[in-house]
Subunit: 251 residues, 2 copies
DNA sequence: GCATGCAATTGATCTAGGTCAAAGAATCCA
DNA sequence: TGGATTCTTTGACCTAGATCAATTGCATGC
């Protein structure tokens, strides 16, 4: 059985009986019977780091919630230029009810566990419980907001602002998983390689590396090893990111 | 009464009794009674060129379909940097059922007429007719695909490819409205100023102008006056745009 | 006809970020 | 313990596109 948990971000979360994490709720308004229905048809799949989960254009016959690990959504041009268009962190939902095929490559960047539902079964549940569909619409609108905020980043921000924005987003998501607000000093591991960050930010890995160094030199972030980041002052970081509103819809 | 018309693009269109254009169907699967319901609550609003329809963060208590004219969705940073995140052409739908406020500035770039529904009433119709909600989910997924394809453009394409992509998209939309496929020679008016294009493409108006000149010099496009474009060979244009798949979800 | 005003073009520079190349670090095996 | 591999940093240079600054070309009104 699942249990609904309120959280400080705009999502409700659902605790599955045997998933260690809280999923962003697809079914925050479901009653116990409906939750039971989802429980019964769910199954788990695991993927290895580096493995491509689906290729753009492939049939994708399941939808899923990330239990652990990180995956990326990306598009690639024939000549190899790549742009990440989304990041899947624990609790995120993937899949497109009503769509036959995947629109992007989905690639595991770490080992992953996903809590899956057969698409057909999930769609049936959507039909019989309209608020699941509504919730999905809301989630899709959130993703759309995130994508459009990212368009502002890609089109108009400087390399330094881009880096600061990415770090802020990861910090926020990390805090949200712990049901906290990011404030004052924050600490976490970067889930992405420099190359993956570059693909996300529309720049080269060298520029990413230089900007990481610059932000460290200027005391905006502290780095231990390659991936562990400490943010001494979250507000300072937000300022560097150039965001007008502190909230932000970015995933 | 509205009448459903099939079209060559992926959308079904609905012809309202007294709108001269076909709306992208919000209700392609509605029966006559349901269509009647929408007919009864619809109303019209017009806006002047340059007028801001809603500001980001404002209450927006209606949803609408564009009848005539063009509007843009954009985000602006405090220092004035602006990024367009969407383009509203005749037949497009605007609005966010289930959301209180607008997420972006919506600005009319020409005089406009919109066919509106009070949000509350529209939401009620969504509740009583689930497939309206489903259709809306599909449309939102389309918009998400478009936004993500645009992310690839903003992050990874050269100025020339960006320009070619934008022209191709406008040509496709223009053809779709006429229920045609863009093929061979195509001709239409650019609905945007050089500055608006620049805001859409994440570059400066000077660079837009230079690339327009370059594409003309190279025979990819022909220009009469400032705005009228003829594309002698649509496939050539697509090639210049660097798109791997010819389809494209872009709005 | 001639001023006024705006959108668009074009030219001359400048620079942020890309490209190419060479070292470090960290991790993994054997 | 010592390659081998992979990720990251740093440096030197270059270029696409930004910036700054004139024009040019149309409209509009007088």
């Amino acid at each position: 059985m699942q249990k609904i948990i309120s959280s400080p971000d705009r999502y409700l979360h659902v605790q599955c009986s045997d998933c260690p994490i809280r999923h962003r709720a697809v079914c925050a308004r479901c009653d116990d019977d409906e939750l039971q229905l989802l429980e019964e048809v769910k199954f788990y799949r695991s993927f290895e780091a580096g493995q491509t989960i689906v290729w753009s254009g492939d049939r994708m016959d399941f939808v899923a919630s990330v239990v652990s690990g990180i995956a990326t959504l990306s598009q690639t041009m024939e000549d190899g230029r790549r742009q990440m268009v989304g990041l899947l962190l624990p609790s995120d939902f993937v899949g497109r009810p009503g769509r036959e095929t995947a629109a992007y490559d989905v690639t595991a960047t770490t080992d992953m566990l996903m809590c899956c539902f057969r698409k057909k079964q999930f769609e049936d549940i959507m039909l019989s419980t309209p608020h699941v569909g509504q919730r999905l619409l809301e989630m899709t609108l959130d993703e759309l907001d995130a994508a459009r905020e990212w368009m502002l980043l890609l089109g108009r921000k400087s390399a330094r602002e881009k880096l600061a924005s990415l770090i802020a987003i990861i910090a926020r998501r990390d805090a949200a998983l712990k049901l906290m607000q990011p404030e004052g000093q924050v600490s976490f591991d970067l889930p992405l390689s420099r190359e993956a960050m570059a693909d996300y930010l529309g720049m080269t890995l060298e520029t990413v590396s230089r900007q990481v160094s610059a932000l460290r030199r200027d005391g905006v972030i502290e780095i231990k090893g390659k991936r562990h980041v400490t943010i001494p002052d979250f507000d300072r970081l937000i300022e560097e990111a150039g965001d007008d509103q502190d909230g932000g819809f970015l995933t």
